[in-house]
Structures are given as C-alpha cells and as structure tokens.
Symmetry: D3
Subunit: 160 residues, 6 copies
C-alpha cells in the first residue's frame, strides 16, 4: 500500500536516503496563476512596457526561489539545480497572469518541489507588487504538470 516516504516505520520524519539512486537527468514542470481584476491586469500590462516590469521581477523571483527550495521545505534534499525557466503570460479571460516553471537537474532526486516553489514565489511576488492597487487578488491552480527521469519514471498531469 501507498505510504508517506518522509517518515520511517516509527512515524518519525527523516530526509529519505537517496545515496543509492543514480544521477540521472530530471525535469519537472509546474504551473499556477494569480487572478486579479481586469483593471489591475491593465496596470501590469502597461507597466511592463514602460512603468515598471512586474513580470520581469516575478520571473526573477521565481528563478531565485527555486534555489531556496531546500531551505524552505523541511525534508527536501539540497541539489545542484542545472536549469530554471519561469514564464508568465497574460490571460485576459482569467483575468490575471499564468505562471509556468521548468526546472532541471542531473541529480539523485527529482525537482518537483523546486518547480512548485518557483511558481509559488513568482505568484507571491506578483501579489506583492500589485497589492497597492488590489488586495483581493487570489493565487491558485498550483500543480505539477509533468516530471521526467528518476526511478519512478515519467509522469504527466491529466488535463484539468
């Protein structure tokens, strides 16, 4: 039966032993969004071109956030991240910004958490930068889209 691998048989938390795992290329992709009013989105859109680059700053915060994953998530392994890309796109129908993060490593554990932390940090940074104009923005839809590499093999999310 399925079990929570972050606990030993007695229920004590531990950082799982990955020393016996092979160093393979691993990639994880995650997504999320920040929902806001059309008015706030307009300010961000116009700002990007000349009055303040919210999207560029959120992208950078997401990339840097990925590097802090093992500091933030108690049982995550520190690992040499080999690649991070964070994309933010305007979705007028939401309305808001959609965030996707891709993280890669050549290591002994996956980078799912790094991708999810990158997405969360980018979303939180958007909130921080636009909260002076709108406090009731909402962050959601944070989920793993895919992972490749590692012993447990590839995985792909079903369409929402």
């Amino acid at each position: 039966m399925s079990r929570l691998t972050h606990f030993d048989d007695a229920g004590a938390a531990h950082m799982v032993d990955v020393s016996g795992k092979a160093e393979t290329d691993r990639v994880a992709v995650a997504e999320g969004w920040v929902k806001m009013s059309a008015e706030t989105l307009d300010i961000i859109k116009s700002g990007t071109s000349k009055k303040g680059d919210v999207i560029g700053i959120a992208r950078l915060a997401g990339i840097m956030g990925a590097k802090r994953t093992s500091d933030l998530i108690p049982l995550c392994h520190p690992l040499p991240i080999a690649r991070v890309a964070v994309d933010l796109t305007v979705d007028d129908a939401l309305p808001g910004l959609r965030v996707t993060a891709t993280v890669g490593t050549a290591g002994r554990t996956g980078v799912e958490m790094e991708a999810l932390v990158a997405v969360s940090t980018a979303c939180l940074t958007v909130y921080d930068m636009a909260k002076a104009v709108q406090k009731d923005m909402q962050i959601g839809g944070i989920r793993l889209l895919s992972k490749t590499g590692g012993k447990s093999g590839d995985w792909k999310a079903s369409p929402p």
Copy 2:
C-alpha cells in the same frame, strides 16, 4: 489614480521608503488549501496520530517560511516579526487541508506578504510530504483575509 508603489516615476523597481512611517501594531491573516483525494487525506489523518505528523511539519514549515519572506520576495522589507500562528484543518468536503496563517509585527510596514508566504510554504510542504502517494494534488485559494494597523487602515476580504 492607483499605481504600483514598488516602482519610482521612471519605472525602476525600488524598496519603498518606510522610514517616515510610525511603528504600529500590524496583523495580517491569509488562507489557502491543498486539494487531494479522500484516500490521501485519510493517510494524512491517520498519520497525524501515529505514523507521521504531516500537519505538524507543515505548520512548522509555514512558521519558518514567514521568517524567510524578505529573502524570497524581492522588494519586501526585512522586519522583526512578533508573532506567527499557522493552522491546518482537515476538510473532508474539499477533500484536503485548509491552512490559515496569522502574522503580527510592531513595525513600519505590514505583514501581508509574511502571512501569504507562511500559507504557501505550509501548502507546499503538505504537497512534498504526500507526493509519494498522489502527484496531482492542487494548491489554491491563497488570499489575504484581513489586515489591521498601518496608515492605510484595516481591510477585510469579502466572503468568497
């Protein structure tokens, strides 16, 4: 008209000057959730009592995450946090866990971001600890519930 205060008149990002603001008591409350299958929730529920305390670890991660806010969010001010509480409750209807964070300070800026970072970090930690049994959990509903104190006064979210 409303504007993004994290940028100066030329559109360059800066950390806003708060040195002229008064040190007042400020409190912010935020919430979010992790949606999962009923089966995963059962494992977490049983785990809490004897096989591994997911909720206790996520709570601690949220508290510690609040302290890392100014490291993660580029234009946030570092400030002496005076109080952090993170609550996780089981919601069988979701099904999943609901997270609420309350952060207080006696400082010159608000702690909205600290409360939101606490919620996000707790949710991400739940994901990390349960991802071995379910990869398609989703994190959402992250929003500010209320803030008190400071020049801009009190604010309360509308019911969802």
Copy 3:
C-alpha cells in the same frame, strides 16, 4: 606530524581542495544530550502525546540544521546531502533527552560536521522550547560516533 588541514603552509585559512577526491558514499553518526529536571522531562513527555510535540520539532530542526552546515561552519564545503535522520529518545536516568543524528552523502568530503550540527541544533531547539519552565538545562556529550567512506577510511568512537 599531525597538522591542521584548514590552514596552508603560511597559516592562512582556506577551504581545502577536494576536487581530486572520489565521490564515494559517506556516512557519519553523532550524538549529544540535553540534561534537565525530571519535572521538565515529564512535561516534554506528556506534551509529545497531546500538548505540543517538542521531540518532533527538535527532530525537524536537526534535519534542517544539517542543511545549513556550510553556512555556519566557515571552512565546510557545501555538499549535496543525501540522507538525514535525527532520533531523540527519553532517558529518565539522565534525566533528559538523548539525540543521535545520521547523515549520508555521495560526495567528495565527509559529513561529520553535518551530523554534529544536526545534533547541536536539535539540542538547542529542545532548550528553546522548554526554557520557559527551566533555564538551567545543560547541553553536552556532543561527539562523533562513527564515520565511514572517504580516503581516511572508517572510524568508530571508543565507548565513553
């Protein structure tokens, strides 16, 4: 004759070159304890089951502390930790808590310091959480129990 390897021939501190060393599996085990009154220990023991999980929190702090080793110890190499386990057991004869930490890596240097930092951080966290009821607790007995792997081979402490 024996010498302090963290200094070059002129006595200047440096971070020793390990680039020529092989990546081998390395494990280190360390221990320590927190001595307290029987009354304090009773509060911690009862707390673990229902009023606040000192042991669970100290365990987590120890695991997370191991990840901060190269931040804290000036000449330690940063390395990809592959495994951390921290055990706390009640010792009524001490009276107090005994802490053991096991850290593993597949790297170019040993993890003795990571194991010792994990033990120290767990002990300090116990002190922090119980200091409201007893200020004159004492932390001691912090020592390396064993190390395996690496060029200098295996080592095991003599019985105390």
Copy 4:
C-alpha cells in the same frame, strides 16, 4: 503550573506573540567547552600565534552564528542584535577551549538562544578545524549563565 509557551492550548506550535512587550535592553551570557587531548590543544595554541588562528576563526563563526539563530531555531523571533562578543580561552586542565558568548539587544524578546547558538557554533568550528588531528573531541557544558532585562527579570545560573 509551568507550561511550554511555544504551544497554544491545543498543543499546536506557534511563535509567541511579543508585540505587546516593551523594547528593553536585554543581555544574555552563555558558555560551553570543547575537550581535546593536550597534544591537540598544543597544536591549536601554537597555531594561534603563527600557523593558523583556530581561536580567531571560531570566535568569528560564533558571532556570525548568533545572527543565524532565527533561521536555525524554528520558533525563535528574528530580532535586531545589538552586540555579540565571543571569548575563547585555553584551559590546560580540561584540556581544551572554554567559550563564553555575550549577546545584547534592545528588543521585545530575550537573546538567550542567540548566546547559546554563538557558543555552539564556536565549539563546532573548533571541532571542524581540529578534526584532522583528533576525531574524539567532545563538546559539552553548554548552558546559560545569565540573562537580564525583559518582563521575567534577571536570572543567574547557580555555580556548577
């Protein structure tokens, strides 16, 4: 009756609210030691004058460690440390090094943990720098010597 203040009534960990406390001058003093062979101590003593300054490096590590306290100890408040001094003295009778740390702040909570973390980090750094010549050194005697300031008043340890 005494209780563990880091937990709420339901037993959940939280960072205690100190926003209502006054900002007063607070000082804490802690001590500890590293026991080693007379031979190792001789190497450190000679090293200090010309072949590598173990004591100077451990002192600096202790000072810097005090600044990381709220990162390491889960429920510690971040606070603006106003003063740190770390003294290491040779004790030929131990034989080994004795460490004392004094930390001060003008804040809303005490700095006991900062003083204890400074002592621990200095001791661990001594171990790291001398472990190439002796692996079975031992760290102990880590305790609070005194604290002044704050609502709970002054406190002084009994002689050992």
Copy 5:
C-alpha cells in the same frame, strides 16, 4: 588616536554594542562602475529595450543584496532596512555602467555597508550577465558618497 572599533582592547573581534545608541533616520549613498567595451555596452543597451533586461536584473540583485549584508559582512549588525534604491546609468565615455545605491533605516547603526554591498552586488550581476560576451570587464570606483544621521554625524565624500 583612531582605532578599529571592531576589536576590543585585547584585539579580539566583536560586534560593537549599539544598544545604547538612539534610533535615528540614517541614509547612506554609495557608487561604483563596471567598465566594458563599447560593443558589450551596446549589447546591454539594446538588450534593455527588447532582448533581455540586464539593468533591471542588476538593480533587483542590488536591492536584494542590501538585505543580505549582515549575512556577508561578519561584524555587521542585522537591521531593519527601510529603503533601498539602486540606479544604473549608461556611461558611453567609460564605457560601461555606473551604479549608485541609496539605503535608509531608522535604526541604531548606519547603513554604509548596505549601500556598498548593494553597489557591489549590482556590479557583479552585470558582470555575470555579460561575461559570455566579454570576460575582461572590470569593476571599480566602489566608494561611499555620503552618510547622514547617527552620532558621528553627516559625511560627504570629496569630489574624485
């Protein structure tokens, strides 16, 4: 006679006691530059508008760097930074980029080091982002321009 205040009478490093100092508004301004070929500068200039915003990223890195000052500089006090602005301007005569940082606090010690760390981090980030096209860029001219507030009063650099 003048002396190095970071050392006590015996020559041991310490973090100077500032608890008796008043909390006053303090501002420090520092500057520096990155010298490069006209060709590299052209790439950065064109990049800013459409192919990658080196200046925006360096500005953000400078702001975030200011927040890490007490982590980096061993005897610096951690303090609640109230304001950071980092300006980068193109100087075709250098040729290269000129960086100015302004940091403010309402605290017990000055923010000269925070301003200098902001400038250095912004310069280093420019180097990092342009090193693929030119490795022999040079960073220089890093100096304090002015400080105001605090017991030692205001200070202004002479023209270069």
Copy 6:
C-alpha cells in the same frame, strides 16, 4: 554574433541549462584591491600582529562569501564548491590591500562568479573594519584573472 546567454530568444531571463555539460575540474582566479591612506594601512598592519586581525577576518569573509554566490547573483547555478583560497597582501605603493581569490569545483559550470564574489566580499569586509578610521577608502580593480576547464576552454587576462 555574441549574445547574452542568460536570456532566451524572447529576452526573458533564465538560468541556463547546464545538465548536458560534463562535470570537469574548473578553476577561476580573480583579484581586486582596497585603496586607503598610508596611515590606515599602518593601523591594519600593526593590528594583524596584535591588535585585531583585519586580514584574517577579511579572508574568512571572502571564503564564506564564495559559498553565498548563488544566493546573491540571480542567475548563478548553485554548485558544490571544492576549494576556496583568498589571499590578502599589503601593497605600500597603492597604498592598501590586494586581494586574490582562487575557487575550484568539479561541476557543470564555471566558478568565475564565485571567485569575484569572494574578492568583493573580502574587500567590503576590509572597508567595514577600517571605516571607523577612514571613510573614503575605495574598492577597485575587481576582475577575472583566469579560468580553466569547461567547454569554452581556458582563458587568461591580459596584463593590466
């Protein structure tokens, strides 16, 4: 034509993918200086022997700074540093201190930034420790001297 590799084709910043690169031995050497009055230099020189070891502390800060590189420089990869040496030498003609840093790794990317951050941090620490006696010191001449290893091959700076 040359391009800035930290941006993708659309101009968005990303952390470049190095997962396909070989793990090779890489070494980078960088230098810089702190210019001061002959009087300040004399204080530092006498201090080193008995009244406070500015050079020893700056060396340590440089070594520890190298380990923080990926925290400070937004698009730098975290990597397992295998070696850091920082040398500070007195130059009476400058007058001031010259700093050289050598960093090595067995990794997938170079350590040029780590060497430059080590030099900068050491220079900034010298400034911090001597600023009580001279505020108009200047930091400059920060540049890469050489790099070896990696796909782009070896590189050596021209004489200044």
